[in-house]
């Protein structure tokens, strides 16, 4: 094979793709668009919640049973008010006044401790028609009222510290083992779970999308060559193997640029989240570092198979159908994502690490979720298997590509493929 010819094909194919509006939009516009959309959505939600919060945060309480400990309430502007964790609870002597305040919008909700509370435990929560949906459940007032009622019931009957433990039996202090086995505490479990699943998922989807996008360009370019009848002109100058290699490298470079742009966005988001939330967010540096290698090998492997099968199609639609099988195999890790996230280093994750179709995505997910559970030889082995498979797929792909590329206008039979590929 002549490297200069391969370079000429690669350059032409690269420029043909990167000059397209669709490519520029997908590569650079999509991240900006997603950032703009998510920023707008978050902004609108924050504004909406802030506005709501400013409207009224007062709740009414009527104690028909006479069990509530009134000592926590303070006198304020002629009313008995208890302020705790941003919520304001106003104690009313009678329900009539409280209902009026609820109707007027001064109260978000009214809680009435029923007169037979001690027997039934009933506390009626009343909303007005003006009260926004979720306004009661979305606040912390109900847990506060529960605590207040517990305290009121226990007051004077038990030691103070026992009372406290009954009111709040356990204060969980979360911790987990970090990469070096050291215990790390003081982190938000929900946020940690979010970051530990979102980033691998995001990175995996990006890798897969970039792989399939670059492979899609390959299918498209072969179909274009066949449909535009330029195949013979090309073949009178360069060999099918040189065309295959040129297309693989040129469109792979375009795919790599796309992947790099998208990955930069992931890193940016991860770093921003880490800084902004001032909490321990695990940026999967190893997964990020190894992702270009996995992308290149995964792309060359999948791309050469896709090019070869696409060349067997008579037109773009047929080529697309023929290559769908490869794409489905590559998507497999996403189909079992829940298992991979839950048990990244389990049997399934380990097996899929060694299958060239699934290894790029599986390794990325495993390294992102639980890097300490992936042995170095697993990474090395996966890359080696992928490299060998890539070499084989290029060899076989080139033969099929030659046959498919030459037989323009119709799809060859299996017998014809076998005869020509020998």
């Amino acid at each position: 094979m002549r490297l200069k010819r391969i370079a000429a094909v690669a350059r032409f194919e690269f420029l043909a793709v990167v000059k397209r509006w669709s490519y520029l939009l997908a590569t650079f516009g999509l991240p900006l668009f997603l950032a703009a959309v998510s920023g707008t959505v978050l902004g609108v939600q924050t504004y909406f919640l802030t506005q709501r919060a400013e409207e009224s945060s007062a709740f009414g309480l009527v104690d028909e049973a006479g069990v509530v400990d009134g000592s926590v309430f303070e006198d304020r502007e002629g009313a008995r008010v208890w302020i705790n964790e941003g919520s304001e609870v106003v104690l009313y002597r009678d329900q009539e006044t409280a209902t009026r305040d609820l109707e007027s919008g001064r109260l978000r909700a009214l809680y009435v401790v029923h007169e037979d509370y001690l027997q039934s435990g009933e506390v009626r929560a009343i909303q007005s028609e003006k009260t926004p949906l979720l306004s009661m459940r979305g606040t912390t007032v109900e847990p506060l009222l529960r605590s207040l009622l517990r305290k009121s019931l226990l007051d004077g009957r038990l030691d103070e510290d026992v009372q406290k433990r009954i009111i709040s039996p356990a204060v969980f202090v979360r911790a987990r083992l970090g990469p070096e086995g050291a215990e790390v505490s003081d982190f938000d479990e929900a946020l940690d779970l979010l970051m530990r699943t979102t980033i691998p998922l995001f990175l995996g989807v990006l890798l897969l999308t970039a792989l399939l996008s670059a492979s899609g360009y390959l299918v498209q370019t072969v179909a274009t060559d066949k449909e535009s009848k330029i195949v013979e002109v090309l073949l009178s100058s360069v060999t099918p193997e040189e065309i295959l290699a040129g297309k693989l490298f040129g469109l792979g470079a375009a795919g790599l640029v796309q992947f790099a742009a998208w990955t930069s966005m992931v890193i940016f988001v991860a770093l921003s989240a880490s800084a902004a939330l001032a909490t321990m967010v695990t940026v999967p540096w190893l997964a990020l570092a190894i992702s270009p290698v996995l992308f290149v090998l995964g792309y060359l492997f999948l791309g050469s198979l896709m090019l070869a099968t696409a060349a067997l199609g008579a037109n773009a639609a047929e080529s697309q159908k023929l290559t769908m099988g490869w794409a489905m195999l590559a998507i497999l890790p996403l189909m079992v994502l829940v298992i991979l996230l839950e048990d990244p280093n389990g049997a399934l994750g380990q097996v899929m690490t060694w299958i060239p179709f699934t290894s790029p995505l599986t390794v990325i997910i495993r390294l992102s979720v639980e890097p300490s559970g992936v042995a170095w030889w697993e990474i090395g082995g996966a890359i080696a298997v992928l490299a060998i498979s890539t070499w084989l797929s290029i060899r076989i792909g080139a033969r099929l590509f030659r046959v498919g590329f030459l037989l323009t206008g119709s799809r060859p039979s299996l017998a014809e493929l076998w005869r020509q590929a020998r």
Binding site: K4, A8, A16, S228, E232, V233, V238
Partner: protein
């Protein structure tokens, strides 16, 4: 006119067979194209011409027989000395004209700057400089055709295979392409011309081969073939009434007398006889068969 007997063939086929499934596309075809000539490759649609060309340029492989290009089996180096304009025209329609030409030049081994210069030069030669930066899809069919001819000629190939180069061209551009082919002959370059336009074959070709149903039915010097398939007749222009002189003659549409010669008589010998018998001959012309007549006659007969 090239010396067909002593020259080494630039492109040689020897006993070539090619089958596609049950269909025999070529059967025992042997011929050679010699340096400096314009070689006509003729035949009806589906005769096997394109398959023959593809095998010669190593796009397809023969099932049997051998092919040599520049005296050896086709190789990267020898293919770089050739160019091909396929009958099924192919271009990247979204590419710009200059970029497309430069790309095709680079695929033939030209350096980037040389390819760019050659692209500009040949766009000027075919009168398309003004559309150099236009996309191919914006060009007319004839202009696109000229872009492809320019792409073929821009590397100054020693062997150029043109499959139906005149289709879709207006008379002005037909003349332009004819001149370009003539110029190649003057420069000693070889051209294989596959066309159904028989008057172009008569005007341009030195030698021809006619393929029908995969077999070579006629092959040789154009003039010799035309003579071989010509009737043994002459047209005599004279003021005298040849009929009255007892000659087996009929009036020809051109005003002369059409005379059917005996099988043993030659045109030169008959002219000598006429003069010897005192016939005042104003003009004398042996009737030579036209290529379209030969084509129709051979194709109708079958191989």
């Amino acid at each position: 006119m090239p010396d067909t007997l002593s020259s080494v063939g630039i492109l040689e086929y020897c006993g070539v067979h090619k089958r596609f499934g049950q269909h025999t596309a070529l059967e025992d075809v042997s011929l050679e194209v010699v340096p400096g000539e314009v070689f006509g490759l003729l035949g009806p649609n589906g005769a096997g011409k394109t398959t023959l060309i593809r095998i010669g340029l190593d796009i397809l492989r023969a099932d049997e027989g051998t092919v040599s290009l520049f005296g050896a089996p086709p190789s990267h180096a020898s293919l770089d000395r050739t160019a091909y304009l396929p009958e099924e025209r192919g271009v990247y329609r979204r590419a710009k004209v200059r970029e497309l030409l430069a790309y095709l030049g680079k695929l033939k081994g030209l350096r980037r700057t040389t390819a760019a210069k050659a692209a500009d030069h040949w766009l000027e030669r075919v009168g398309l400089s003004r559309v150099a930066d236009h996309r191919v899809e914006s060009l007319s069919k004839g202009m696109t055709q000229k872009v492809q001819i320019a792409a073929c000629l821009m590397t100054d190939p020693e062997l150029c295979v043109l499959d139906e180069p005149f289709s879709g061209l207006d008379p002005v551009n037909v003349a332009l392409v004819t001149d370009l082919i003539e110029e190649r002959r003057t420069l000693g370059r070889t051209t294989v011309l596959s066309t159904h336009m028989m008057h172009q074959v008569e005007a341009l070709c030195d030698r021809v081969a006619l393929v029908h149903q995969g077999r070579l039915v006629v092959y040789g010097q154009l003039d010799e073939i035309r003579r071989r398939y010509s009737p043994n007749q002459v047209i005599v222009w004279t003021e005298m009434d040849l009929g009255a002189l007892g000659v087996n003659a009929t009036q020809h549409r051109t005003g002369g007398w059409r005379v059917e010669l005996p099988a043993s008589e030659t045109a030169a010998g008959y002219l000598h006889e006429l003069v010897r018998h005192g016939v005042l001959v104003d003009r004398y012309e042996p009737l030579v068969a036209r290529m379209d007549e030969i084509f129709v006659s051979l194709v109708s007969e079958g191989p």
